[in-house]
């Protein structure tokens, strides 16, 4: 179980798809103008990533290497279409906002990349850990980015028609936050923050492991 957890944790920290691997940025910058949109985009990616990881890993012994990419694409596209139809049916306002970015999850390199690099080689249990970890890592970053942009840009955060938090009415947000330059600037700070955090965590790990060896050395 500790191996499962360490795989799961990598997606959130040292292998985070957005702040470390920096893949799937296109959709991230585009949909992170609204908290609500980013939240459901995150859920959609978690679902597609985990389900396709399970299937790819489950089929890894029977899918010939030479046709693996077409098979992966069909699997991923099917799950994306399921999400697309479901969202259109049950969350039409969110679907209007996310628009073309939902079908474009098919070509999001996080999903094909993880299928190719991880799920195709690992047992189902670990593939689930990787899918969930990467998906939650992606969602966490996109939700934080969208919260900052919506709050600073529009002065309030609205979730499914309800105002969650807002600045007083006189606040007039700078438009640049909602446009792409603002997304890049804020995202840059988030990458810097994530790097600092990862560095500190790995430094602490080295320290503890050193202390362990010293203690062990003293004991023997």
């Amino acid at each position: 179980m500790s191996e499962w957890f360490s795989v799961f944790k990598r997606g959130l920290s040292v292998d985070n798809p957005l702040t470390v691997l920096m893949i799937g940025l296109c959709a991230t910058l585009a949909v992170s103008t609204k908290f609500e949109g980013a939240f459901f985009m995150g859920l959609a990616v978690i679902f597609v990533l985990t389900m396709s990881a399970i299937l790819v890993s489950f089929l890894r012994h029977v899918v010939p290497e030479k046709v693996r990419i077409p098979v992966f694409i069909v699997i991923i596209a099917s799950f994306v279409t399921i999400v697309d139809l479901m969202m259109k049916a049950f969350l039409p306002t969110v679907y209007d906002f996310l628009g073309v970015w939902i079908p474009l999850i098919v070509v999001n390199c996080i999903i094909l990349g993880r299928a190719e690099a991880f799920s195709y080689h690992k047992p189902v249990k670990l593939a689930i850990a990787d899918g969930l970890g990467m998906g939650i890592g992606f969602s966490a970053v996109i939700v934080v980015l969208a919260s900052i942009r919506e709050l600073l840009g529009s002065g309030q955060i609205v979730f499914l028609g309800t105002k969650i938090i807002g600045f007083p009415a006189w606040y007039k947000g700078p438009n640049i936050v909602l446009l792409f330059p603002g997304a890049f600037i804020i995202f840059g700070f988030m990458v810097a923050g994530a790097m600092a955090l990862n560095r500190r965590m790995s430094a602490r790990q080295v320290q503890t492991s050193q202390r362990c060896t010293i203690e062990e050395g003293g004991g023997s």
Binding site: H61, V62, V63, P64, E65, V67, A77, L85, D96
Partner: protein, 201 residues
């Protein structure tokens, strides 16, 4: 099976089987959601029609008028023409669903006209304008209400006196184009039908 040295037959089988399973999974999902999706789209449309023609109780899609309406609208794309009816089935006005080019793509809207061709309101269904700039135009009451009262029979002169929003003139012009084209649809197609309405004194 050795996945590195599969025979062509095995490869074909793998891809065909995957596609077959995927297709059946999708057809099940489609069946489960299609009624609900159609219902949502219909509800969204009726809601915007009700917004621009609040007095009407029934909207009937006029499919036989669609083709001539599309010709009259020129570059803008007419999606549907609705006849708005009062409680006794009398003609109250017209709703035109139209898409005109904005800054980031088509702006889909419903333009309401009363039976004399005066614009009663404009309601935006979907748009892909720049968040914070173009979308502010569409959300601004000051901007959207200026179209109310434009005379469909003389829409070209009405459209000359019009205020675009600074910084988002392409989004503003997109809405104006849609209203203008709806006016042309009224001039060339709908105004002729007015006399044929059930109750017209």
């Amino acid at each position: 099976m050795d996945r590195a040295n599969a025979t062509p037959g095995q490869m074909v089988l793998a891809v065909v089987l995957t596609c077959a399973v995927a297709a059946s999974a999708l057809s099940v999902t489609y069946d489960l959601t299609k009624d609900r999706i159609a219902e949502q789209e219909r509800a969204a449309e009726v809601a915007s029609l009700g917004e621009v023609l609040p007095d009407a109780s029934e909207f009937v899609a006029m499919e036989d008028l669609l083709e001539s309406a599309q010709v009259a609208a020129g570059d803008s794309d007419v999606g549907a023409v609705y006849r708005a009816e009062g409680e006794s089935g009398d003609l109250m006005g017209w709703g035109v669903r139209i898409a005109a080019r904005g800054y980031g793509g088509p702006i889909r809207m419903v333009v309401g006209l009363d039976r004399n061709g005066q614009v009663t309101g404009v309601s935006i269904i979907t748009n892909t304008e720049t968040p914070g700039l173009g979308t502010e135009v569409l959300a601004s009451d000051d901007f959207m209400t200026q179209f109310v009262g434009w005379d469909g029979l003389d829409i070209d002169s009405a459209a000359k006196a019009y205020d675009a929003v600074t910084g988002a003139s392409k989004s503003s012009n997109g809405v104006r184009t849609g209203v203008l084209a709806s006016g042309h649809v009224f001039q060339e197609v709908l105004s002729g039908i007015r006399e044929g309405g059930a109750v017209d004194e």
